[in-house]
């Protein structure tokens, strides 16, 4: 109990004094996860729409597969990306291993299944009457897709929020492809809040870990507040 209180106080101290290390780590967490969420959304939302409205053989199996991938362990994704980006791997020439870009790639891949699957769920939650109404008004395929998405806006934004939450809270892939590096320059470092918590815990700095955890939750709170506000417009 004492450690948790100590952690809380340490968190306040780190935030109020704008501790430079914590600020850098937090900013990196936000940038990496935000970018991954945006990229994933750009792919997942249209793709979800196309899958939902399409009729092709194996559609049910595809949706089944996507939902199965919800359970994909983050470490496995991390391992996969690591093997692809390692110097001896197929994309080794890109020299992306141990860079923030690698982390963005890993997080994007990680949250894609959830975002595609939830987009499909969101769209199927839209009243079929709306689809028929749109069709009867002469909507093109694109207009059908776009307008149904607008109706499902709330649920789709919920998917985005979930995607961001999953991205910013994951550790396994971030450590594997990023390396938890704290270098002298901002752009060469790959330490984010979750990997920092992992390190501090393994080194025995419990209050520091709790403090970082609180900072992470505070960030998630702010981000979700923004998303909720947009949802209710």
């Amino acid at each position: 109990m004492y450690e948790i209180i100590e952690g809380f106080l340490e968190a306040l101290r780190l935030i109020i004094t704008l501790d430079p290390d914590v600020m850098a780590i937090s900013l990196r967490s936000i940038i990496v996860s935000f970018t991954a969420t945006i990229f994933a959304s750009l792919i997942a939302v249209p793709l979800g729409g196309v899958i939902y409205f399409g009729s092709f053989p194996g559609k049910k199996s595809l949706i089944n597969l996507i939902q199965t991938l919800y359970s994909l362990p983050t470490v496995i994704v991390g391992l996969l990306i690591f093997l692809l980006l390692s110097r001896v791997g197929p994309f080794g020439f890109l020299r992306l291993l141990f860079t923030p870009t690698a982390m963005i790639i890993a997080q994007t891949v990680l949250i894609l299944p959830i975002m595609i699957g939830l987009t499909i769920s969101a769209l199927s939650g839209v009243d079929p009457i709306i689809r028929d109404t749109l069709r009867s008004l002469g909507a093109t395929r694109f207009q059908l897709l776009a307008n149904t998405m607008k109706e499902a806006k709330f649920a789709i934004l919920a998917a985005v929020a979930l995607g961001f939450g999953r991205a910013i809270s994951e550790v396994g892939a971030a450590i594997l492809v990023g390396g938890n590096i704290m270098a002298s320059s901002f752009s060469s470092s790959t330490r984010v809040l979750t990997t920092a918590i992992s390190l501090e815990t393994s080194m025995g700095n419990i209050s520091q870990s709790i403090a970082l955890g609180i900072v992470l939750l505070a960030i998630a709170l702010v981000v979700n507040f923004v998303i909720t506000t947009v949802q209710h417009r």
């Binding site: 940038i31 110097r87 020299r95 002298s184 815990t201 080194m203 025995g204 700095n205």
Partner: protein, 307 residues
């Protein structure tokens, strides 16, 4: 309203593309003028923060940037074998020899050493205080298998520390896989890092093998004490070696050599020998420079600069 939202979203997207572009430059070799040196090391070394202490000195002298990743020794070696780093710094002589023999590494230099310690509850139910490491291990196993309240928590994760533990069991005359692993509930494999292993040993009031750095960091938070801290079997020798440019031609060879020579230089050997005294009241490492006989390595490995 909709147009504003679209505009806002687009603006954010563009902003993040730009930010992404900035973070993307790390995939180019040099942000600005600085060269980068990639080092893979073991958590036992990294967590003592010795490297954090030496990094600014090196970076200023050579106008470079150090990129250091750490993991268990097995993981660090893996990075070395895949050519993902330029330098490997570990503490497992046997695996280092294999690494060199397989042609993955070259130019090994030994720069520091310290001792592992056997930690355990203050009450010391197995009574191992002050024993030789092999004797202590034998006693723990004996009492543990006899059903007394004696437990040993192992790293169980192919780390350098785990290798050392296995070596001590072997020196005590046991076959690790048949006599120790799975021989009873007295022997538990944590499969995690040193800190978590110590925490687990604390919970169970058990014995464990630890490196001195991690233990000192945890000392105030756990009810365990160092019971055995002397003995050749506890010797912990750290080396640095280059990843072989013949296998991986695009590693940063020049800077790797600079780093290794930096570590064995007189000035830095002094820094290493005095590191930790202020915070812990005792040094965390001994300089390897003059003790090559004591630690059983060729003099060339502590003295000769890499050419």
């Amino acid at each position: 309203m909709q147009q504003r939202t679209i505009f806002a979203v687009t603006a954010i997207l563009v902003a993040f593309m730009l930010i992404c572009g900035c973070t993307g430059t790390t995939s180019d070799q040099t942000p600005g003028e600085k060269q980068q040196l990639r080092i893979a090391t073991t958590t036992s070394l990294y967590d003592t923060k010795l490297l954090d202490h030496l990094t600014p000195i090196f970076e200023e002298k050579y106008n470079a940037e150090l990129i250091i990743v750490s993991g268990g020794t097995g993981k660090a070696i893996e990075y070395g074998q895949r050519g993902d780093v330029d330098v490997l710094m570990v503490h497992d002589r046997a695996r280092e020899d294999a690494f060199l023999a397989d042609g993955y590494g070259t130019n090994r230099r030994v720069f520091a050493y310290n001792y592992f310690i056997i930690i355990g509850p203050e009450s010391d139910p197995a009574g191992i205080k002050g024993m030789d490491p092999e004797q202590a291990f034998t006693t723990i196993r004996e009492k543990g298998m006899a059903g007394e309240n004696v437990v040993f928590v192992s790293r169980g994760d192919a780390s350098g520390t785990h290798s050392k533990e296995q070596a001590i069991w072997k020196a005590a005359g046991f076959n690790y896989s048949t006599d120790i692993q799975g021989s009873g509930s007295w022997y538990q494999e944590a499969g995690t890092g040193m800190g978590a292993t110590i925490a687990m040993a604390n919970e169970k009031q058990a014995y464990a093998l630890s490196d001195i750095g991690t233990f000192l960091a945890y000392k105030g938070d756990v009810d365990l004490v160092a019971l055995v801290d002397e003995g050749d079997a506890l010797l912990n020798v750290y080396c640095a070696m280059q990843i072989n440019p013949e296998k991986y031609p695009d590693t940063n060879t020049a800077l790797a050599k600079d780093w290794i020579n930096f570590l064995i230089s007189d000035e830095i050997q002094q820094e290493i020998a005095s590191f930790g005294v202020e915070e812990y009241g005792q040094p965390l490492f001994y300089a390897a420079q003059n003790d090559w006989e004591k630690i059983g390595v060729p003099q060339a490995e502590v003295k000769d600069p890499v050419l």
